[in-house]
């Protein structure tokens, strides 16, 4: 089963990457762009046929490794 974990900085935490990209858009002439936030996507295969088990495992993997809960939030999606 395919899992996708999205990791984003928490609301209120400074996002230097987003800030720099937002600035680059201005330079490139995209003048109508508001706040930019950058996150990570981790896609992986887990060997199980059970959607719920897959979701639970994705959650466990995010907590243990993929997200730094001090500054990041995450969301787990299980693909169809």
């Amino acid at each position: 089963m395919k899992i996708r974990v999205n990791v984003m900085l928490k609301e209120g935490v400074l996002d230097p990457q987003g800030k720099a990209i937002g600035h680059a858009f201005e330079v490139l002439g995209f003048s109508n762009v508001g706040e930019v936030r950058v996150g990570k996507t981790i896609e992986l295969e887990v060997d199980t046929a059970d959607r719920e088990a897959a979701a639970a495992q994705g959650e466990a993997m995010a907590r243990e490794l993929l997200a730094n809960l001090v500054i990041e939030d995450f969301a787990v999606e299980v693909a169809e």
Binding site: P16, Q17, A20, I21, H23, A24, V27, L28, V38
Partner: protein
Amino acid sequence: MKAGIVLFPGTNRERDMAQALRLVSGRDPVMLWHRDTSLPQLDLVVLPGGFSFGDYLRSGAMGAHSPLMREIRSFAERGGHVLGVCNGFQILTEAQLLPGALLRNAGMRFLAQEHFLRVETADSPFTRDWSKGDVFRAPLAHGDGNYTAAPDVLDRLEAEDRVAFRYVSAQGQDDAADRRCNPNGSQRSIAGVLSENRRVCGLMPHPENLVDPDLGATDGVPLFSSLVKSLVA
């Protein structure tokens, strides 16, 4: 040799590069600002190391879109000589003045260590003061130096003798699968490449940090003396 060094916000090895050019060529380079919209009369444009725009999206990605890069592209198209070191190499690939791309180091860590390079061709304005097969020391200082390109691009680079430098062991052995020889995991151990007309060169290591006998090493001198020979008519 009249050289210009491009400054992006976040560039940090411009002083090192200026010092090397001054020591070897006897002439002060001019400093160029990324927002400039014209280039002065120059023999050589150098993109130095650093973290242009913090390297926050991809190393070199935002630098490649600076206004001055348009001028540098047409300078290169007119046959001008361009050297990109470290972040400069990344910018040149992002701007597609050189083929390939630089991924995160295979070990996922920033590498800041002395390492060895082998000169793969002496047939270029950047390498003529070396002989093919020469091995020299050069410091590495990068997080994204893992060179990659499609297999047909790599084949073509080799067929056209456009691999300038390879990572090797102190004894000069290359082994792409062995991190002791090829520390960042680059495909085919490639550390530096040349453009089709051989006048644009990019490499990850820092020969500009090994040109001063007072600091104990001169391994990087031939890069600059080659350029002086080639560009001082």
